[in-house]
């Protein structure tokens, strides 16, 4: 027996409470709001599709766009798109209450770093809507996933279709490693594991102001190696912050390769649980399972964590040939390039 509370996999996901008991939460995701509301939020026309099917479709479109970009630039954070596409699409389309984008479809150029001498500096938060007491906020932590977020914002019409032309271009805000002025970004997060604490401060401020909107944080599993993450979780639980929810892309990968060959973080669910969080472990490619824990009808007094178990090659079987080096994909030969090129063509044909 370990000292950690154990639980079994139940339904679409397992749920651990701090006391070790298995929580019973509705299996049917009441959070999946009616299609029309979702669409209106995203500013797009309704389609004759279930919400989950729509999310899957958006996620696949994100994968194709990231693959296309990786081909055009012979390099990209491709496996991150494979692992996180459904998580991010579910957050935007089902979990978070966001207003329409406040920013132009063509991203503004870089306007200088923040300082009292530069009133023109801005963040990319406006792409996630206005800040309002009843609306949610999104804090994007592993900003090397920026290409995935930009691609999603394009699919959701929050960014224009050509926004990736600015990617990693001199003077642009569509940075390689997302900065706080990059579309969809709000805080400086690229020194990893700093965003969770900043999100904690935002959640605390919102609670003091009596705001009903929540704070959603997207994290990578590598961030759970940093001590700061655990300091943050201790503080979130100690201050009983129930207005914050964290989605983790548990793709078991990091720069040097598979996480268990670099530094273990498991059992992650039990560890987070012991730190006082409400933890759900779900299939990270299943929009229904991803959305279920975020049911806004439940009042919480502790942080919510959804560990999304994902596959870094999901939707692009070809990538598996490159394992265990998946962190940044650069094609090694013309033949490999051609293979991925024709893969993109067939993915496009399937999508039609």
């Amino acid at each position: 027996m370990t000292a950690f509370p154990r639980s079994t996999l139940a339904g679409s996901g397992r749920i651990l409470a701090a006391n070790g008991a298995t929580l019973l939460l509705p299996r049917i995701p009441s959070v999946l709001r009616p299609e029309t509301t979702l669409m209106a939020q995203a500013g797009i026309q309704p389609r004759a599709q279930s919400p989950a099917a729509h999310i899957r479709g958006v996620a696949d479109a994100v994968r194709r766009r990231v693959l296309e970009h990786t081909l055009n630039n012979n390099g990209g954070y491709l496996s991150q798109a494979c692992s996180s596409a459904e998580i991010l699409a579910t957050l935007y389309l089902s979990v978070m209450r966001l207003g329409p984008s406040q920013e132009p479809l063509d991203p503004r150029p870089f306007a200088g770093v923040p300082s009292s001498a530069n009133p023109g500096a801005f963040t990319g938060a406006g792409y996630n809507g206005t800040k309002a007491p009843e609306l949610d906020r999104f804090i994007f932590s592993p900003v090397h996933y920026a290409l995935v977020l930009y691609s999603l914002l394009i699919e959701l019409d929050r960014l224009g279709p050509d926004a990736l032309d600015d990617f990693n271009r001199d003077g642009s805000t569509v940075e390689l490693i997302g900065a706080e002025h990059s579309p969809g970004h709000e805080v400086t997060a690229g020194s990893l594991a700093q965003a969770i604490s900043q999100a904690g401060g935002i959640a605390l401020a919102r609670r003091m102001r009596g705001e009903t909107g929540r704070v959603w944080v997207f994290m990578s599993d590598g961030e759970f190696q940093e001590g700061q993450t655990w300091e943050a979780f201790a503080a979130l639980a100690y201050h009983r912050l129930g207005n914050i929810g964290i989605y983790v892309d548990a793709n078991a990968q990091q720069c040097d390769g598979p996480m268990d060959a670099v530094m273990g973080i498991e059992p992650l669910a039990e560890r987070l649980c012991a730190f006082g969080a409400e933890v759900h472990e779900v299939d990270g490619h299943d929009p229904v399972a991803l959305a279920a824990p975020a049911d806004s009808a439940i009042e919480r007094d502790r942080p919510l964590v959804v560990i999304a178990r994902t596959d870094p090659c999901r939707g692009l079987e070809q990538l598996r040939e490159r394992a265990p080096k998946l962190h940044y994909v650069r094609f090694k030969s013309d033949a490999e390039f051609a293979t991925y090129r024709s893969l993109l063509d067939s993915l496009r044909a399937e999508a039609c």
Partner: protein, 335 residues
Amino acid sequence: MESVQRPHRENLIRWAASRPEVLVLSADLTSSCEADGFRDTYPERFFSMGMAEQNMMGFAAGLAREGFFPYIHTFAVFICRRPFDQVAMSIAYPNLPVRLIGFLPGITTAGGVTHQAIDDIALMRILPNMRILECGDATDVESVLDVAQDIDGPVYVRMLRGEVPRLFDPSEPLRFNRARVLTQGAEVLVLSTGICTEEAVRATQALRTRGLDVGHLHVSTLKPFDDPTVLEAIAKAKRGVITMENHSVIGGLGSAVAELMAERGLGVRLLRIGLQDTYAHGASRQYLMREYGLDAMALVRAVASLIGQPLALTEDDLAAVRLETMRQVDKTEDL
């Protein structure tokens, strides 16, 4: 000019072969910091510490107390910022021989503000016991480990990765607390570090064709900062001194030179080229060097300002300068 692919990667493998006491610690950036060759060649001396830099510093301190020589490999920002307290208390205070090998100096990366070490020299300089070395070319990279290993106590090395130019003759290795004298000159003195030296050479060669008597030293030891070569050159500079660094003008080379000049009463003007107390953003190195005034043209402007007259040099003139591998003009051993 010749350039060398990943000189640190090969050099580390070769250099560590006869040094079983040398270990490498890595925080999930092993290939990015060119330590993958060491890891694969000496797996029993390589330790993966995960993305947890603060803890890694403590482990390095413990290993050093036990007689090992840990070589930390990660990006410079992740050595100097987050684990600053651990570096100061666990490593610098007890004067432990931990070697901190920091990559991506200044604006050499498109990774933006979180990856650009524009304050690392400043942060390491204020730590008692810490010594600081910075590489400017492949020859520096290939010889810096010897210099670091000879130092009794902690060393911070500002390292270059990837394709690195060969500016200096391989038979003239980096020497502790000894600047490389690239040109002699009595009018204006240029002191440059790191990647700025290549830019400075472009400008000084063009300036000399215009008849300007400009001296140029490449500095690779930033702490201690009492190199007699540097002092003598400053004392000779009639119109003034210009420092040029890929770092904030606060706390780095510019500050060190200002302190030295003030303390020795060397009363000429000092202009500091570097990031003017600002953060940067993600873009290409060339773009940022121009935007923040770290390029050859910026040096030409500074020289014009020092001598009080315009210099008819264009970007094209500077781009046309052919750079060859250089030998030091002056053997400084006997200084």
